[in-house]
């Protein structure tokens, strides 16, 4: 599964994307896995209320299933315009 990061999530983790293998069934379970990957990951995912998630490029929530998903993206709330 491909993970994609934007803005300070990308900066804290130190990469814009990575491939992971996970047994997680939901975004929330994936986040639990990811927190253990590195101190940067732990920092990025410390407060998920500050985060938004997209599964296969569709904005989702943390209870969303990820089975069969090709890509999960994490980012702070958007600030366009």
């Amino acid at each position: 599964m491909k993970l994609v990061y934007f803005a300070w999530v990308r900066e804290r983790i130190g990469t814009a994307s990575e491939e992971v293998s996970t047994g997680a069934r939901t975004v929330a379970e994936l986040v639990e896995d990811l927190r253990r990957r590195s101190p940067g990951h732990a920092l990025a995912f410390a407060d998920i209320s500050a985060l938004r998630v997209a599964v296969d490029e569709e904005v989702s929530d943390f209870s969303a299933p990820i089975e069969g998903a090709r890509e999960v993206a994490f980012f702070p709330p958007m600030t366009g315009g």
């Binding site: 803005a7 490029e57 709330p77 600030t79 315009g81």
Partner: protein, 159 residues
Amino acid sequence: MAVRVQEADFDIAAEMAAMTAGRPGIGAVVSFTGLVRGEAGGEPISGMTLEHWPGVTERALAAIEAEARARWPLEDVLIIHRHGALAPGDRIVLVLTASAHRQAAFAAAEFLMDYLKTRAPFWKKESTPDGGRWVDAREADAAAAARWQDAPARGGAGQ
């Protein structure tokens, strides 16, 4: 459908002329131009970097445009949003709406900006004397976007 995500600057007069040429039904054109301010929260800003999500951003803008066209009788719509490194005074975003009458053009331009603020995958990082700082999403922007969810579209009376 006219949505562009680009590093380059834009020329509002040229875009407006291209939009209105040979369109005798257009009586009103509203533009919104967003600029990089030179200060934020009392602190000087020396620049801003706009990060986006290539491909996904374009689709988000197209969806926002389609929703505006479904709500108001618009003759045309243009959204240009820049990304990359910008300096104070630089243009960030252009929204153009054209309609027979002014109310639809105004309402659609406000709607587009409110949705761009909260539903287009852009992230802003300001450069300050203390270093870089990611701009937080604003509660006021979320509230501004939410007000459209139960608002009926306004009509097309007036110019």
